[in-house]
Amino acid sequence: MKRNVLQPGIRDLAKYPFLAEAGEYLRDKGFNLEQLGHPDWAPLVEKAYGRIVVASSGQIYGSDMEQLKELDMEILSFIVAVILLKATGINTLTRRFSLSEARRAEKYLEHDLRQKYDSDFPLKIIQELFSVQVAVESDDFMLSVPNYLQRAVHFHEKEWKLVNRRVANGFVHLTAHETVRLIRTELGQYINSKIQSITLPSIPDTFKARVQDLVSLASKFSDAVVVSSDYPPCVKHAIEVLEKGENLPHSGRFLLATYLLARGQTTDQIAPLFKNAPDYNERITRYQLEHISGSSGKGTKYQCPSCDKLRSENLCFAIPDCDGIINPIQFGKKRGRTNA
């Protein structure tokens, strides 16, 4: 039987519990918050809590298709998890949960897209939630070039660059996996914004212990940054060019100035670097440095250009140590996690 795409079945809601229809479904079945506060529902609260704990550790909750047996519980545990997060009120936790839930939904979206007879519903979700039209042509899913670019520029792996895609007649050809990967962030943001928009009157007492547990869980997420004193190769190159007395293009000078300013150097420390430039003028250099630093002009402090931008300007001289960074500022900083 062909499913009516406007009315997702309960199985769809279990896969995608963030859809507005999931809430309606539960209301129609007569569930309410007060009722869920009854001790009989303790296993549900545990399930919801578990769902958040899994998400906060960067894992994906219950992604095995076989486990979709207790469909009501799947939907309910998502809703209760949202209530717990809302009561905890810690954004980091909500964001982690949203992303993990997005990745969970991604698995189902990808699976459903691959099954041709099931692809209408995921395509509809993508279109309705994110206004992205996805066309289907044999085994390919196609996004318009602008729609693709607006999403793919946030990825830093080379394979996502447009030049490494099959592009024809204004469309980018993608696999099911790539199509859903492209909207993961938006899906995460969508789930996050849905959670943010909910207003919570009060929660049942039976939820409160787990809310406390979540508060202490969230305190674990704080990053420590170790800074090494080495400059990235693009900045080294810019300094070398200047030292040789060669002309460094405006974009290269801008990189050097913004980078060193961001590393805490003052205009007085930076200005002498430009002394060797063929068109050096102390007054102009100072004026420009002050402008970039935000201490003159409108007070806008300019940021160091991204690696992507530098690549396009032929100013990138990436070395293996550059792997995984998207801005020269990140070079040499190792992210470590402490359990403080």
């Binding site: 602008p146 670019l149 607006q150 447009l162 030049v163 490494n164 099959r166 024809a168 469309f171 396009s312």
Partner: protein, 373 residues
């Protein structure tokens, strides 16, 4: 520029805007554009809003700007400071400049003008042959080869826009007024793209950042390689055509490519950039707040007009864009390289007094190679 020279140039420009205002292209949504202009020896004046073509004409006649610019972007408040303009979208623009193509002819039509003694020397000189000063300004004069090579880049770009991006109708090609071409794409789907998206788009067009995996070469297990085939869409097809030339050569070349491995293939791809990628200036396309030379206006680097090319093959900028007055004026010309304008040759001149048509006088004055008497 000396005052007597700027008087002549400004006069010629004013005459052009008086007689040929119909050639000035009025951009779509004129009220949402930011205009800017420069006067000879003056700085840039920008953040100007213009209501209609009458007001534009008035500005051109009153100010006789040496160069006029119009934003590729549309704003709610084009005359406000940048942060308050309220950006609403921007046309896609491309700049192809012969000077970026590193052509072997460059030296033949370059002239070094010594900043100390003002003498001119053909070619890019390290030191002035007269006074020995190392400080000089290099100008480049009309060259057919530069224009022909730039046209090839334009054709590559237009083909990519058509075949890969599905943009055909909204592509307008203009001679820049000096040594290259400007291409403007007005297409609703593309106008909202930000700077980062345009940077990736331009990398596509230039064939920057292609990796072997895209063309079926992996770091390991290449016995299962899926090399591109001729006739495939997008870059895969173009790379196949470049690699194999013809179908019959495919099996042999394929084996060699797989044998040579990943790194060698990356080198091959990088080497292909110049031939298959269109060499545009990425900075121009990435800039979503740029004020871009107004179509139909005069370029003060040459006195030629930024002119629409309806038929690129036949377009001769040194004839079709040479639109200043024809009456004769006297100049002291110091132009060591021969130039050709409107099918007539001028020079070489060695500090000689010459009577030449106004367009040729302005051309040489703009290049710093002549002065009015």
């Amino acid at each position: 520029m000396l005052e007597k020279n700027s008087t002549l140039v400004e006069g010629a420009i004013k005459e052009y805007y008086f007689n040929h205002f119909d050639l000035v292209h009025i951009p779509q949504n004129i009220t949402q554009r930011e205009f800017g202009y420069q006067k000879i020896n003056g700085g840039m004046i920008r953040h100007i809003a213009i209501k209609d073509n009458k007001e534009l004409h008035l500005l051109l006649m009153k100010e006789t700007p040496s160069d006029v610019y119009c934003s590729n972007a549309y704003y709610s408040f084009p005359s406000m400071p940048m942060s308050e303009k309220d950006w609403q979208g921007a046309d896609l623009i491309f700049d192809i400049d012969a000077k970026d193509l590193a052509l072997p002819c460059r030296n033949d039509h370059s002239i070094s003008i010594c900043t100390e003694c003002h003498s001119t020397n053909p070619g890019k000189q390290i030191a002035c042959t007269k006074c020995g000063s190392a400080k000089s300004e290099v100008v480049s004069v009309a060259c057919k080869n530069c224009i022909d090579e730039s046209k090839k880049e334009v054709k590559k770009l237009v083909r990519i826009l058509d075949e890969d991006f599905g943009i055909k109708d909204a592509v307008e090609v203009y001679f820049s007024g000096n040594e290259g071409f400007h291409i403007r794409v007005t297409n609703k789907n593309y106008e909202m793209l930000g700077s980062q998206e345009r940077a990736d788009l331009v990398d596509y067009i230039m064939f920057n950042g292609a990796i072997p995996e895209t063309f079926g070469i992996r770091k390991q297990n290449n016995f299962k390689s899926t090399l591109p085939e001729m006739g495939e869409l997008g870059w895969r097809g173009k790379v196949a055509a470049n690699l194999f030339g013809s179908k019959t050569k495919m099996p042999k070349i394929s084996r060699q490519i797989i044998l040579d491995g990943y790194t060698a293939f990356q080198v091959k791809l990088d080497g292909m950039r110049q031939t298959i990628g269109a060499r545009v200036d990425p900075k121009v396309t990435m800039d979503i707040h740029r004020i871009f030379r107004l179509e139909g206006s005069i370029n003060s680097k040459s006195g030629l007009a930024k002119t629409k090319c309806d038929s690129l093959d036949e377009f001769d900028p040194f004839l079709d864009a040479c639109l200043l007055g024809e009456e004769t004026v006297d100049v002291i010309a110091n132009c060591p390289v021969q130039i050709k304008l409107k099918n007539k040759k001028y020079g070489p001149y060695a500090n000689e007094r010459k009577s030449v048509p106004k367009y040729a006088a302005v051309y040489m004055i703009c290049k710093g190679l002549a002065s009015t008497v």
